[in-house]
């Protein structure tokens, strides 16, 4: 795995500076659809110009380079400890090179040692599969949008939300209303219905690994995704909460079993600066190909 350090550094650089093609298409479509000569249209133009500049200059799309989340699919016997060590070094080096901001703060002392490495930072999610390939996906999750995430416990009397899919719909749309433009909208929702408080949020984030143009194989969830996307875009919140035709670029929902006593709906919000890239590695740890 001699090639691993360079591969991970390149994965971090591209993730920070380049928007995935499906997200780029969604932003261009939203710009096209927006009412002309409005502050909403101007906002989209600036967003689009920013995406182009960042790529061209190979600099971070947003100065908040977020929480660094690695998702690794690997065969049994893969050295996870070695991978994590190399990845921590790559994160430190990427920070020194300016691909990542000095963005990780000790929660007890308030100190920022400038490495982006510490307890829980970066975060690793390893997943074994019965195939020889090693796939590494990286998400940089911004803080402003993380702050507008929400977890609801059903039933909610206040929102008249019961323990069914209609109740889920009500609380998810409430999260969109409460978020307004504060998470640097238009955003993408990752949702998990069920699970416990921890797994619910964790699974809601895995939804950001999906492409915006995919469809949910579970018909009930597919319908809910489309419904929430369309309804949210009728609310007129718009980019940055300026008012406008596009409030969300996508909605991705999964479900996990729950215990009879609990019914959580966990919602993560991803800003327009959606940073997600992935690679397949060869036996030497070099990048074999980029994942969509």
């Amino acid at each position: 795995m001699n090639g691993l350090p360079a591969s991970l550094l390149e994965l971090i650089r591209r993730t920070s500076a380049e928007i995935p093609d499906d997200v780029q298409r969604a932003i261009l479509a939203a710009l096209e659809k927006e009412k002309k000569n409005t502050i909403a249209e101007d906002a989209f133009k600036i967003i689009q110009k920013n995406i182009e500049l960042a790529k061209q200059k190979s600099q971070p799309i947003c100065q908040d380079t977020g929480s660094v989340l690695f998702y690794v699919d690997c065969p049994p016997g893969f050295d996870q400890i070695g991978f994590a060590e190399t990845a921590r070094e790559a994160v430190t080096l990427a920070t020194r090179k300016g691909y990542l901001r000095q963005n990780s703060v000790d929660s007890i002392t308030g100190k920022n040692d400038g490495t982006n490495v510490g307890p829980g930072a970066p975060t690793f999610h390893f997943h074994q599969h019965r195939a020889p390939a090693v796939q590494v996906r990286l998400i940089l999750k911004g803080g402003g949008c993380e702050n507008v995430g929400a977890q609801y416990s059903l039933p909610s009397e206040k929102l008249h939300a019961e323990r069914d899919l209609d109740g889920c719909r009500k609380v998810i749309l409430d999260a969109v209303l409460q978020a307004q433009g504060k998470g640097c909208g238009p955003g993408v929702l990752g949702v998990c219905i069920g699970g416990d408080r921890a797994t619910g949020y964790e699974l809601s984030k895995t939804q950001f690994l999906r492409r915006l143009d995919d469809r949910n194989p579970i018909p009930e969830l597919d319908q809910l995704e489309q419904d929430i996307l369309n309804t949210a875009n009728e609310l007129g919140i718009g980019p940055m909460g300026f008012g406008g035709r596009t409030t969300l670029l996508g909605v991705k929902i999964c479900a996990a079993n729950r215990v009879p006593a609990s019914y959580f709906v966990s919602i993560s919000y991803m800003c327009w600066a959606y940073r997600r890239m992935g690679v397949t590695l060869d036996a030497e740890g070099r990048i074999a190909n980029w994942l969509g």
């Binding site: 502050i39 101007d42 906002a43 600036i46 967003i47 110009k49 920013n50 500049l53 960042a54 200059k57 600099q59 971070p60 799309i61 947003c62 100065q63 908040d64 300016g98 901001r101 920022n112 911004g142 402003g144 702050n147 008249h160 009500k170 749309l173 409430d174 209303l177 307004q180 433009g181 504060k182 640097c184 309804t231 009728e234 609310l235 007129g236 919140i237 718009g238 940055m240 909460g241 300026f242 008012g243 800003c271 327009w272 600066a273």
Partner: protein, 192 residues
């Protein structure tokens, strides 16, 4: 067409601005975020070289590096969430005669009241547009409290040209954030 503002801005110019209006700012911006606001609100004094009267504060923790010639260069400079300064902002507007605050996400009732009282506005920059906004910063004129507060929290004095923003809270009690919230809430109720 955006309204052009040149610092120092007069009270009359600021009072003429309305919610939803696009502006472009040319002149000087002073950054200030959590540490600066807390320090000033506790009675701290500004460095003699920093004059906020009729000026504009930018809620921003920029990424600034020194180039090979030893000059400061702004690499990324998007707005940060303004709501954190809500406890302090109104007092600072009054005490220093500030005419505008740039940030993202909007601010609350106390800041809105202070804007009305002194003649000031809240200007919303595009969150996340760190590269585009950095391009509008032509030079770094100075940096203050660098040692005390660290780079992102320091006061940076930027020379800007046609820096784009939108008036989302005006000096007449208008708030686009409140308007859009109420309108979107009404739309949502129809669809539940």
């Amino acid at each position: 067409m955006p309204t052009l503002l040149t610092t120092p801005v007069s009270e009359a110019q600021i009072r003429a601005l309305k919610v939803g209006e696009a502006v472009e700012i040319t002149g000087t911006l002073f950054t200030g975020r959590d540490a600066v606001h807390k320090y000033l609100a506790k009675g701290g004094a500004l460095p003699p070289a920093v004059n906020l009267r009729d000026g504009i504060i930018y809620h921003c923790g920029p990424v600034v590096i020194k180039d090979d010639a030893g000059r400061w260069k702004v690499v990324a400079a998007g707005p940060t969430t303004s709501a954190r300064e809500e406890p302090y902002q109104g007092d600072i507007l009054r005490r220093f005669g500030v005419r505008g605050v740039i940030g993202k996400g909007g601010m609350g009732a106390r800041t809105l009241a202070a804007c009305q009282e002194v003649g000031a506005v809240y200007l919303h920059a595009i969150g996340g547009a760190a590269q585009v906004l950095a391009e509008h910063i032509k030079s770094v004129r100075g940096v203050y409290f660098f040692e005390e507060f660290g780079s992102p929290e320091a006061i940076w004095e930027f020379e800007v040209e046609r820096f784009p923003a939108v008036v989302t809270m005006d000096a007449h009690g208008g708030s686009l954030h409140r308007e859009v919230f109420e309108a979107s809430q009404a739309e949502l109720l129809k669809r539940l």
